[in-house]
């Protein structure tokens, strides 16, 4: 059995390799390669799943169109100019010049408003505050209303604005403790978006909760009606707790300038003996 290596002569192989250098002409190479590339590129392309997916008017096209229309509609509603809500009750204890500005009618809800919203204040007090806040507005508003066309039905506010108005009502009540104290109370809670200039919570420190409590107490005291004060004073006076009755009288005087005049006749002699602060 002859092996393949026996059929080879190394010297002959080397001589053959040395002589075997011929190659096809470059022009022939180029022609063949060009023909090969042409043949591949001219072949019909198969339509695969990827090409199918790019066809227009697939099932998702109406869905996408509806989504785009919806987004545009919502954006247009959000960008529409907001008209003031005439049905919204503006409650504010701010000075007349400030309260008359429409921009300040919606106060950001401070954290002190949370516990008060659970226990709404008595209705007469709220009406009184509205009455106090409205006269300064009416000076300018009366002129506008007199020159304005006949009353038309007020436009229905957007649901979002209606919610904001509802949320702003208790917030406006809590602002009665004064702007400075309210700002301090707000420091204990995350600042609202409409009040970027509010001080950061870290600057208030531990004083903020105390100030908030004080603001709540003062606010509750101011919202008490004269009848409440009188009833409380009479009860303390009857019980003989005169120091507490004196403190209550002082609070009554602080809340109402004509507190002594509002006292019943039987308490006035005693009240006359209590010094004013």
């Amino acid at each position: 059995m002859t092996d393949e290596r026996d059929l080879r002569d190394p010297a002959l192989d080397a001589a053959w390799r040395a002589q075997s250098t011929e190659t096809p002409p470059p022009a022939l190479d180029a022609a063949i390669l060009a023909a090969a590339h042409r043949a591949v590129k001219s072949a019909p392309e198969k339509i695969g799943p990827g090409r199918e997916a790019t066809r227009p008017w697939r099932w998702w096209t109406p869905l996408a169109a509806a989504a785009v229309i919806g987004v545009i509609a919502i954006g247009a509603l959000q960008l529409a100019p907001h008209e003031p809500d005439p049905t919204k009750v503006v409650v504010s204890d701010m000075p007349p010049t400030i309260a008359s500005k429409p921009e300040t009618t919606v106060a950001p809800p401070p954290p002190a408003a949370a516990p008060q919203s659970t226990a709404p204040p008595p209705a007469p007090r709220q009406e009184r505050r509205v009455a106090e806040a409205k006269p300064p507005r009416s000076s300018d508003a009366a002129k506008r209303e007199s020159s304005a066309p006949p009353a038309q039905p007020a436009p229905e506010p957007f649901p979002a604005r209606r919610d904001a108005a509802a949320a702003a009502a208790p917030a406006a009540e809590s602002s009665a403790a004064g702007r400075a104290e309210a700002d301090n109370a707000m420091a204990a809670a995350p600042p609202p978006r409409a009040a970027p200039a509010s001080p950061p919570a870290s600057s208030a420190g531990a004083v903020a909760p105390m100030l908030a409590k004080r603001a709540m107490r003062d606010d509750a005291q101011q919202r008490r009606s004269p009848e409440d004060f009188v009833e409380r004073i009479r009860k303390l006076f009857t019980e003989g707790n005169l120091p507490e009755a004196q403190r209550e009288l002082a609070a009554f005087r602080t809340a109402y300038a004509d507190a002594d005049a509002r006292l019943p006749a039987d308490l006035r002699p005693w009240a006359a003996t209590v010094p004013r602060n």
Binding site: T2, A15, Q19, A31, L33, A36, H37, A39, V40
Partner: protein
């Protein structure tokens, strides 16, 4: 080749770069004329391009490619009216010698080639041209294609022992020519 059949043109570039020299020299040594070799060479590769879609890898690509070249050179000889003389499966020494002398480029009709026999390459080529076609074909396939004996036997349609016999004879003749020069 399968990659090229799937549309990758770069696969053809790689195949062509790997096999173009061997196929070209195989044709050139057989026909002894560069122009004819160019024509046959182009025919073979265009055939490769044409049948790419139906290519079935039953053997190595080189085996398939040199089979195409083998058939193409036989067709060429037949077209030249030398089919009876140039049966490369004919191992008769006299007939092969006659056929070799009938080949273009053989030493009998190129005096200048004989004059250049002092050079090794010319001597080898002349000796190769003088070989019977079957022996020359076996030798060229062994040297240029790198096919094994079994693959050459399959390509030529003969047994392995026949291929060995042809190679043994061709190598002896060429070695003798090499020693004389």
């Amino acid at each position: 080749m399968l990659s090229y059949a799937r549309g990758e043109a770069a696969a053809f570039d790689a195949l062509y770069a790997r096999h173009k020299g061997g196929v070209y020299r195989y044709l050139l040594r057989h026909c002894g004329n560069a122009g004819t070799a160019d024509e046959l060479f182009q025919d073979i590769w265009m055939n490769v391009i044409r049948v790419r879609a139906t290519y079935a890898p039953s053997a190595k690509f080189a085996t398939w490619l040199y089979t195409l070249a083998h058939h193409r050179i036989v067709d060429h000889w037949r077209a030249q009216g030398q089919a009876a003389l140039l049966s490369i499966d004919d191992d008769d020494d006299d007939a092969a010698r006659s056929a070799a002398e009938a080949l273009p480029g053989a030493r009998s009709d190129e005096p200048e080639a004989r004059a250049a026999n002092r050079q090794l390459g010319a001597s080898l080529q002349a000796a190769l041209a003088a070989l019977p076609p079957a022996q020359r074909d076996a030798f060229l396939l062994q040297q240029e294609s790198g096919l094994s004996l079994a693959e050459i036997a399959t390509l030529q349609g003969v047994g392995v022992e026949t291929v060995k016999s042809r190679l043994r004879y061709a190598v002896a003749r060429l070695r003798m020519e090499l020693s004389e020069s």
